[in-house]
């Protein structure tokens, strides 16, 4: 058991499977009490967001309740904005599992207590709405709803309500934030090994060709690559972020069950596949990769040549279903007239 880096993983599944310990786990919460966990010693902020049942039982204004409910609905069924704001086969909850609440699945309430703040990706101070808009433009390969619109307000209300009780601008790191990757494995990530491991562990749901699966036109399994997936500008195309997502969340229902080697191999394989063009593309993949290298693409394979077939990743002008519609928030200038420090 000592090989489990995170004690929580034991309670969850991965390790109990691997070690064949048939412990019963249903009593355990993923937000287990702070004092039960050694990482409390690490002095982190542990927050258990309220659930939708808590919302129904709370005594906040009924109008606010229904707006939060709408925000939750948009978050878990973002496909209702298909063709307007969403141009791929995803929901927000395709990547932020468990309705955006679960630790190590980039729980979204963290943004509500840490923003406004400077963001490296776009080099200026962002608020919560702008952060949400970012996931629309890249992860949803879409066009964000306008700032202040009903959809934007409802989504941000949902994020903020999830943060209920957590301190604003916390002075401690947030437990379970983001998609932390496992340590880099012994052998450098490998495409062929990744392909084999993907076919063994993932294709049953996401399909051999990564196209995901719709049943009678309804969302079931999202596509990890291809036209229906996120575009080249989305955070999850960074190999380490993909590795973190996979390790912490996949195969569905079995978090932290893959080895670090399998995880990184699969992440490398998936991020070596094609997907819709980065909306920041200027017509030349090498230039775009260089321009956004320091802030983003240095961690992705965008613009690089795939070894086995000499294909240059991202060298195309396929923007997916949204065609030549430009997300209005990408490259939008902010605070240009403020004097520098």
């Amino acid at each position: 058991m000592t090989t489990c880096r995170r004690p929580l993983a034991i309670a969850l599944t991965g390790c109990s499977l691997a070690f064949g310990v048939g412990i019963s786990v249903y009593a355990t919460s993923v937000f287990a009490q702070q004092e039960e966990r050694p990482d409390a010693a690490l002095n982190m902020l542990v927050h258990e967001p309220p659930s939708m049942e808590d919302l129904e039982n709370s005594d906040i204004h009924p109008e606010l309740k229904s707006v939060i409910r709408y925000g939750h609905d948009l978050f878990t069924n973002t496909q209702q904005l298909r063709g307007e704001n969403v141009f791929n086969d995803m929901n927000c909850s395709s990547c932020h599992l468990g309705e955006g609440r679960v630790p190590f699945s980039a729980p979204v309430w963290a943004a509500a207590i840490t923003l406004p703040d400077f963001r490296g990706k776009n080099q200026h101070v962002n608020n919560l709405e702008e952060r949400i808009a970012g996931c629309f433009a890249y992860s949803m390969n879409g066009v964000p709803p306008a700032y202040g619109s009903d959809e934007m307000l409802a989504l941000s209300a949902y994020h903020q309500w999830l943060a209920t009780g957590a301190p604003m601008y916390p002075d401690k790191p947030i437990y379970g934030r983001g998609f932390p990757a496992p340590d880099e494995p012994e052998q450098a990530p490998d495409y062929a090994r990744g392909e084999t491991a993907y076919q063994e562990n993932c294709a049953i749901c996401h399909q051999q060709d990564g196209s995901g699966h719709y049943e009678n036109g309804e969302y079931v399994f999202p596509p990890p690559w291809g036209d229906g997936s996120n575009n080249w500008g989305a955070g999850i195309v960074r190999v380490d972020t993909m590795a973190g997502f996979i390790y912490q969340n996949m195969p569905l229902g079995q978090p932290r069950s893959l080895s670090a080697q399998d995880t990184w191999d699969i992440a490398y394989y998936i991020t070596s596949q094609e997907r819709p063009q980065d909306p920041r593309y200027n017509g030349d993949v090498a230039e775009t990769a260089e321009q956004f290298g320091p802030t983003f693409h240095k961690r992705s394979l965008y613009g690089q040549t795939r070894e086995h077939d000499d294909h240059v990743l991202g060298d195309h002008d396929n923007f997916g279903e949204k065609g030549d519609i430009k997300p209005w928030n990408v490259g939008m200038p902010r605070f240009e007239n403020l004097p520098g420090e």
Binding site: Y26, A27, V30, Q199, I204, C205, E215, G253, P255
Partner: protein, 221 residues
């Protein structure tokens, strides 16, 4: 080791989602009807099975995915799925007959699930929650994220569970929890069932027994 074998099989099943038949062997419904003569005693002539409150329920087979049915019969024969009642009857079938009865039952119209009607409102509400949203505090992923919208099934890998008998659903979940059923690919079902309390199992079984199992059945109701 066991894990490895399961994931190999997972690969097979993955392909089957696309091609619609990894265990492909053409079945014939008419021959299937003849071969199913011995099955009627339990699964009934219309494939509806029976909910048996204090005993072993017989699952509805009508309208289940054909490849899923065939896989189960092969699993019974190979000892990968264990059930004293069923193994006798599975053993009577050769590969061709398995394909035939699978085809036969898969073509039958769905019949209603029983055993959920007496559940109280709170139990049904919990069941609906588990089915549609899961309970992530205990890392119970929603049933529909694998069994599809309405629990109506996805391809040949994820069988429809809506409109199945409550007694059968709860028996299967309990079997996975106690590791007496483990023929699922990649432990996908077992990992979830092990996190469920007995109350959760009762709740979701009652909920699905009361739900339509196909869009046709939904409009008919």
């Amino acid at each position: 080791m066991n894990q490895k074998c399961l994931s190999r099989f997972g690969l097979l099943m993955g392909i089957s989602l696309v091609t619609g038949g990894a265990l492909a062997q053409q079945g014939d419904a008419e021959r299937g009807q003849a071969a199913a003569a011995t099955c009627i005693a339990c699964h009934q002539a219309d494939g509806s099975g029976m909910n048996v409150p204090n005993g072993e329920s017989w699952p509805r087979l009508a309208g289940l995915n054909g490849d899923y049915i065939a896989k189960q019969l092969h699993d019974f024969k190979a000892g990968q799925r264990q059930n004293a009642t069923m193994v006798t009857f599975a053993n009577m079938l050769d590969d061709q007959q398995i394909a035939d009865v699978a085809e036969y039952y898969s073509q039958m119209p769905l019949t209603p699930g029983n055993g959920g009607d007496e559940a109280d409102e709170a139990l049904l509400a919990r069941g609906q929650q588990l089915a549609e949203r899961g309970d992530w505090n205990a890392y119970i992923v929603s049933c529909q994220s694998c069994h599809g919208p309405g629990g109506m099934g996805v391809g040949s890998t994820f069988p429809g569970v809506a409109s199945q008998h409550a007694g059968y659903i709860s028996a299967q979940l309990t079997a996975w929890k106690n590791e007496t059923r483990s023929n699922d690919p990649q432990d996908l079902m077992g990992a979830i069932a092990k996190r469920m309390s007995d109350n959760d199992i009762q709740a979701v079984s009652a909920w699905y027994a009361t739900q339509p199992g196909s869009e046709a059945q939904e409009t008919a109701q």
